[in-house]
Structure formats: structure tokens, C-alpha cells
């Protein structure tokens, strides 16, 4: 009797939490199908409208949104590929080699995890301007490349790989790079997927640094365009902003539905093992 009562409370609370969690998503999707006046009327809150294409047209009038989407894909995609490559190689070095200074270097990397990124904003601004990279996608990609969490995650995964297999491949005459890319890395697919998705989604939604680093409309990523469409003191086309938000949200939701397990494993890798 008591058990079922507890179960009922648990269900009720969880279902309420699920509704609260999902509601703003549903609302955003529905808002993207309404006109600007309908968005602010209660009776349209849970109805689907038929102004989606019109809203999209209005969005494309004020911003080259497909271009902005391509920028987001480029920035997040290149960033993710480089993080996977650099972090896995570094993680492998920390996990499978003994060399002078290994622990010192690893400690230095971990220590910098506790320093907020805001500390490097001004120096990066000066540095990237000097390199002539400001207002280019590289200004967004480069600063976050040294992803300490990624190295940590990769190191953790590689430590579980049996040393005997690496030794055997060496005796067979394979070079260390060959061993890494053809024997070790392919067995670490889950770790690569986890880190890849987390890196992509983080860069996809990145806002503060791109706001500083990018100035021209053609170089904007999607969050930047949306943020500039809602600046105070102007007439705001909320319907157009909402369709923009939906376009930027859909890829992430699809990723999540497909790779849900890797997503959550990646987050737990930091929490439970760390």
C-alpha cells in the first residue's frame, strides 16, 4: 500500500517535470507558425498555425539565414573534427606512454580547467586581430580547441585498452601512428561519438565569444543573428525569430534522439569517473 503511494507521487512529480521541460519546445515550434499578434494571444498557445512559410520569408528578408546556417555548420563541424583528432592523440599520449614531464603537463592542462574563459577574452581579441583572423570562422574555432575535458575523457577511455595488443602490433613492425589510427582508435567509437556530439552542440550554441569576434552579417552564426534581431529599441519580428530558433534547434534534437546514450555517457564520464 505504502509502496504504491510513493510510486504515485514519483510518477506525478516526474510527469509534471517532463511537461514543464517539453513545453517551451512545443511552444517555440507552434509560435513559429503564428503571426506576431497571434504569438501574444492565449487562445493560439496550443494551436498550430499556417504562417510558417511567411515567417521564414520574413526571416530571410532581414538575414541571409541559410548562409548563417552554413556558417554554424562549418564552425561546429570543423571544431568538432579538430577536437576529436587533437584530443584523442593527446589522450593516447597521456594514457599509453611514459615520458618525462607527462604528469606535469597533464596537471597543467587539468588546472586550466578551473580558469574561466573570460580571462583570455581580451588577449585573444588582440592576438586574433594581429593574426588577421577576427571576423572569420577561425576566430570562433581556434580559441576553444584546447578542450581539456576532451583530453581527459579520451585518456580515460584509452587507459582501458590492453597494452599487450599495442606491444604485439609493435613487434609486428607497425608504427605508433599506425597502431593508433588503425588498431586503437577504431575500438573507441563510443568515446569519440560522445565527445563529438558534446563538442558540436556546445559550439553550435556558442554565443558570447562569437558576439565579440564576428562583425559582419555574412559571417554570423545562427545564435548571433537571432540575438541581433531582438536588440532593445527596435521593432522585433518575433515570429521570424521563432522560425529561426526552430531551424537551429532541429539538428540538435535529431542528434540527441539518435545518439542519446552517447550524449549522457559523455556527461557522466566527467561526473562519475572524474
Amino acid at each position: 500500500m505504502k509502496q504504491s503511494k510513493v510510486g504515485f507521487v514519483a510518477y506525478a512529480v516526474l510527469i509534471l517535470a517532463a511537461i514543464v521541460s517539453v513545453f517551451p519546445f512545443v511552444w517555440t515550434f507552434l509560435a513559429s507558425t503564428h503571426t506576431n499578434t497571434q504569438i501574444f494571444q492565449l487562445e493560439y498557445t496550443l494551436k498550430i498555425g499556417n504562417h510558417m512559410l511567411e515567417n521564414l520569408r520574413n526571416l530571410l528578408k532581414v538575414a541571409p539565414y541559410w548562409r548563417n546556417m552554413a556558417n554554424s555548420i562549418f564552425v561546429a563541424g570543423v571544431y568538432t573534427i579538430l577536437v576529436l583528432l587533437f584530443d584523442s592523440m593527446a589522450g593516447y599520449a597521456f594514457a599509453k606512454f611514459r615520458f618525462k614531464g607527462r604528469d606535469a603537463i597533464f596537471f597543467l592542462c587539468i588546472a586550466s580547467m578551473f580558469i574561466p574563459q573570460q580571462v583570455s577574452m581580451v588577449p585573444l581579441f588582440i592576438q586574433l586581430s594581429a593574426f588577421g583572423l577576427m571576423d572569420t570562422p577561425w576566430a570562433i574555432i581556434l580559441p576553444g580547441l584546447a578542450n581539456v575535458f576532451g583530453v581527459f575523457l579520451m585518456r580515460q577511455s584509452f587507459m582501458g585498452f590492453p597494452d599487450e595488443l599495442i606491444e604485439a602490433a609493435r613487434i609486428d613492425g607497425a608504427s605508433d601512428f599506425r597502431i593508433f589510427f588503425t588498431i586503437v582508435a577504431p575500438t573507441m567509437k563510443p568515446a569519440f561519438t560522445s565527445l563529438g556530439i558534446l563538442s558540436f552542440v556546445n559550439q553550435w550554441g556558442n554565443f558570447m565569444w562569437p558576439l565579440i569576434a564576428i562583425n559582419s552579417k555574412e559571417q554570423y552564426t545562427m545564435p548571433l543573428v537571432l540575438s541581433l534581431m531582438v536588440q532593445p529599441g527596435m521593432i522585433i519580428d518575433y515570429s521570424a525569430v521563432m522560425i529561426g530558433a526552430v531551424i537551429s534547434l532541429v539538428p540538435v534534437l535529431v542528434f540527441f534522439l539518435v545518439f542519446q546514450k552517447n550524449f549522457i555517457d559523455g556527461i557522466l564520464a566527467g561526473a562519475v569517473k572524474g
Binding site: 580571462v119 588577449p123 545564435p223
Partner: protein
Amino acid sequence: MGKMPGVEKALYSRRGCSMKKMLVPFAFLLPYLVVYLTFTLYPTAYSVVLSFMKFKGGNLSFVGLKNFQFLFSDPVFFKAIANTFIILLIQVPIQTLLAVVLANFLNKKLLRCKGLLRMIIFMPVLIDTVSYSIVFRLFFNTENGMINNFLRSLGMEGPDWLNVGFLSKAVIMIAMTWRWTGYNTVIILGGLQNIPMELYEAAAIDGASTGKQFWNITIPGIKPVLLFSVILSVTGTLQLFTEPYLLTYGGPVNETLTIVQYLYKVGFKTFNFGAASAGSYVLAIMIGILTFLQLKVTKED
């Protein structure tokens, strides 16, 4: 490299330190170290230098502690610190408590659809900060926002959310709690699932009540993940930027201006690079002290 397997074999079979063997790990580390040194370590160090400099027209001049004096004589800087800490001290405990409750419910043995519920509760963290800040701004619009429209349909007049000091902070806290509770629930659930069931069974046989089991088994069992979750939330809240930037525009009259928003204005609106660097180190030191304290407090027993 693969051309002369005989030579390689010879190199590796000797236990002596050959030059090549020493260089291999560094070759693996090289790409990471290059970006780490260029885009993390160098800017972090250069920021220390800038804290004591005046940067004008590309020229640096040493000004001692002037930048820090500038910050600590600016009431707006203190206002930003106070705002950030008020949000931190109210929002993080509420969010953590909610996450612990939800995680415990999700960990119940007999519950159906656990996976689905966990997935949905985790979802808010997927929306980018810009979109969700705009959506919450619309929700809390005074004249025609969904919340006040709904209250009006019940015959109540909703408050002027975004134009009253404390309410605007509350809206930011509500938005953050919506976005981050599920994420922390999943982290804490990960900790709960690592607690062996036998501990609870043994305690039940010994006649320990559910409450006692919670305090003596669950809490110690999830302490590491709880600590991780709280440190992450505290650090994240101290770096709060997008929500006040887009949800409340920092207003009304600086009531939701946060530390990072202040630094952004000083650094990139008035281009006072020295003061922005100095301020970023004030923030770094606050984060360092708070992280240290949290680690210390939980180490006690």
C-alpha cells in the same frame, strides 16, 4: 615510418632510451600542445600582464594597480557582483534540491517509462542559450506574455516581471532552473545507480527507515557527483551572460547586470582592456576560492 620494420623492432626491443622513442609521445601531444599554448596558456598569462597595463592605440603602459582601483571604485561593479551572488545563492540550491528529488524518483525500481522520462527531463539543456532566453522573454512579457495572459484568464493581474528589480532576477532564475535541472538530474542519477542495492536491502533488514536510508546511504553515495554538479552550477552561474544579455537586457537599471556582462561592457563597449583583464582575474579568483571551499567542506568527514 613503416618502411623499415626491422629497424623499428630493434629500436623498441632495446630498453635504452632511443631518441625516436622519446619523441613519439610528443608527436602525439604536439597538435594539442600547440593550440593549448597559443590559445589557452598564452592568453591566460598575457591577461595577467594586461591587468597592470593601460592599452591605448596598440601601446601598453604600466599603470600598477590603477585597473583594480578603477573596478573597486565603480559601484556598478559591486552591483554586478551582488546581483550574480543573489542569483547564485537562491538558484543553485533550488536547482540542486529539485535535481536530487527527480533523480531519486527516476531511480525507483518499479517505475515504467524511466528512459523516456529521463530523456525528456534532460532535453532543456539542448536548446541554445540565445533561443531560450528569447522564448522566456516572451513568456514573461508584461502586457501580452503567456504567463500574464494566463493569469488574466484566471482573473488575476500578473506583475510587471521584467521591470521590477527582484522579479527580473526571479525570471532569470526560473529560466536557468528550467534549462539546467534535467542535466544535473542525469548527473546525480548516474551517482545513484552506482550505489549497490544490497546496501539498502541490508539496511531495511536492520530496520532503518526510508529517511535514515536516504541520509546514511544515498547522500554519502552520491557525494562525489553532487559535489561535481554543485561546483559546475556555481562556476556556470558566476559566468552568467546570455540570459541577462537577452532576457532582461541587464535591466531594469542594472538589476540583472552580471559580472561577465559588466566585463563585456568594460572590455568591448568602452575598450578598457586593462580593467576588463583585471576584472576577469577578480572573477577567476572568486571561482577559485568557491571551488576550494566546496571541496574543503565536503572533505571534512
